[in-house]
Amino acid sequence: MATNEKQPKEVKQQLVNPDHKPRVAALLSIIPGIGQMYNKRFGKGTALFILFAAFAVVLVSSLGPAIGGLITLGEVPGQDDSRVFLSEGLLSATVVAFFIGFYVLNILDAHKDAKRIQLGWEVPNLREGFRNAWDTTFPYVLISPGMFLLIFVVAFPLMFMLALAFTNYNLYNAPPRAILDWVGFQNFTNLFTIAEWRNTLISVFSWTLIWTFVATTLQIILALFLAILVNDPRLKFKKLIRTVFILPWAVPAFVTILIFSALFNDNFGAINRDILIPLFGMSDGIPWLSDPFWTRTALIMIQTWLGFPFVFALFTGVLQSISSDWYEAADIDGANRWQKFKFITFPHVMFATAPLLIMQYSFNFNNFNIIYLFNEGGPAVRGQTAGGTDILISWVYGLTFDNQQFNMAAAISIILGLLVATFAFFQFRRTRSFKEEGSI
């Protein structure tokens, strides 16, 4: 870049070296490196050529067969492990995709350099070239550890899961004993046509939606109510009250959920034994863990307990920042309390916290911990592959670890992923960072 600026402007369009053809350079770099050598960048050319040659050897010797294995998934039962074939195949496909990207970049690079030479650009010597290379590759050096992990820990498992959804991998057809087959959209078809799967899907999905909506909304309402209450100037000990209200957020959630699970125990939990039976005169308490309706009720109450402090803290921060001028003006206009809430407090609070509140909804949509730790998704329901309080993500867990229906678990994960992605996509389009990013 720096060398470009040194040239006087009028020279730019004049061809200084009309014999140096960018097209030739591009064509020559079909074998990477040769085009760069034509551009007299020998160091760069040699490096590229060696890299390319090494890759070609690897491609022929192992990547090719691995991608072939991706299609067959192995041939000899008991000897070929389809899972290995699948993962190696996917990895090789990723490497090849990267290579194709570099290959295209290499041709573009030779073409670009040749064009600059045509315009009279002096090829930098080896040392300068090295410096330039360091400058251009530096951002890649920076992002490489993050990207490497992202690819192997996040992207690759997601790809593997995607692939599993199109195989017949389950308890009865499991490698290394058996060979997996590609079954196309069979798993998805089964999910929507076989009665047992369809019914489970419908009931789990509807409960997931109810759960997300009710539990999160209750959290927000309670938090808003308490935040406004504690914000009242007449109240004393505000600091103490706020600290206590944040306490449920401060205690690790897995600890409290397990405690609640014991508290709600049907037979010897304190809710039934110490509160409902003696204080309210119930004869045998409420079946908190064995009746789906009551388990759901308990879960929503517990999530409200766990989740309101965070929203409360957010709201408190916003309330303290609303200028008192607003309220004084409203007083002069003779507004009552409800009007002040409706036209001043509520819009302020919602405007400032909307993205975080939406995050709360998506958090609860995938809130595996509470569902699993409270009652492992139970109680069991007849004629279903999911328990009465299973949400989509905990259903996937159950299918994977209890029933070993890996193919169905993967198929449901994909549906879940599509739901989350659609939601997030619309969300992101509205956030500022996304918009700003477009203008850079």
Binding site: S87, Y140, V153, V154, L235, F245, P252, V396, E437
Partner: protein, 284 residues
Amino acid sequence: MKKGMKKSTKNTLELIIMYAIIAVMFVVIFYPLVWAFGLSLNPTSSMFGASMIPSEPTLEHYRWLFFDERSNYLLWYRNSIVVALATSFFATLIVSLTAYAFSRYRFRGRKNGLYAMLLLQMFPVLMAMVALYILLNTVGLLDSLVGLTLIYIGGAVPMNAFLVKGYFDTIPRELDESARIDGAGHFRVLFQIMLPLAKPILSIVALFNFMTPFMDFILPRIILRSPENFTLALGLFNFVNDQFANNFTRFAAGAILIAVPIATVFLLLQRYLIGGLTAGATKG
């Protein structure tokens, strides 16, 4: 005068109602915690005979956790802290490198990289649990704390890189450009100018990436197999899971020993945490 009187009675009444609501909330918040603490002092191990206010309180269960040779509690505590510290350190480092590149350099593929991260941060690592389980099982990396840490770090990259990038973007470019004119190299600008200026957001990232693994349950549940590799959450879950009622008091003691330090740190840092979250939401 009469009107004033009326107003002050109304005032008092309202105050009483407000304090009453707060008192009810206090009871609801404290009841489960105090109940667990009370149970941890019971001499019996089962929940059945135990009561919230034991007649003969004892610290027996706490002693068991620390000193009994069958107890893995200290080991779990150590595992949790090691995993959490390693995750916190490496995640913060990798996240700052990535965020710095995306914030300050214009390179080929930058935009696609940003989109890829936006896309990937939507999917929790959890969603790929089937694949993670099968993959780790195939390569024999199940039951490894290193594998667990790597997954935490990888999962932390996209979301946190956005958070930090947003913060870097607010640091004036003139600062690093003038340093560069003075001859500072790429790394020097990063380590001596950007990172010190970004300290507030980096400490939040470090803290969150310490808390997440420390409190996480599901990934250890998927990955770890042998009791000596368990983290605290998983170990305690197995206390209650094996025979629910039987070890509950012991679980309660272990839970109190986690809840107290974490809650203390948390309450001390709460202002900071909330500030970080709101910053992340408006800038990220």
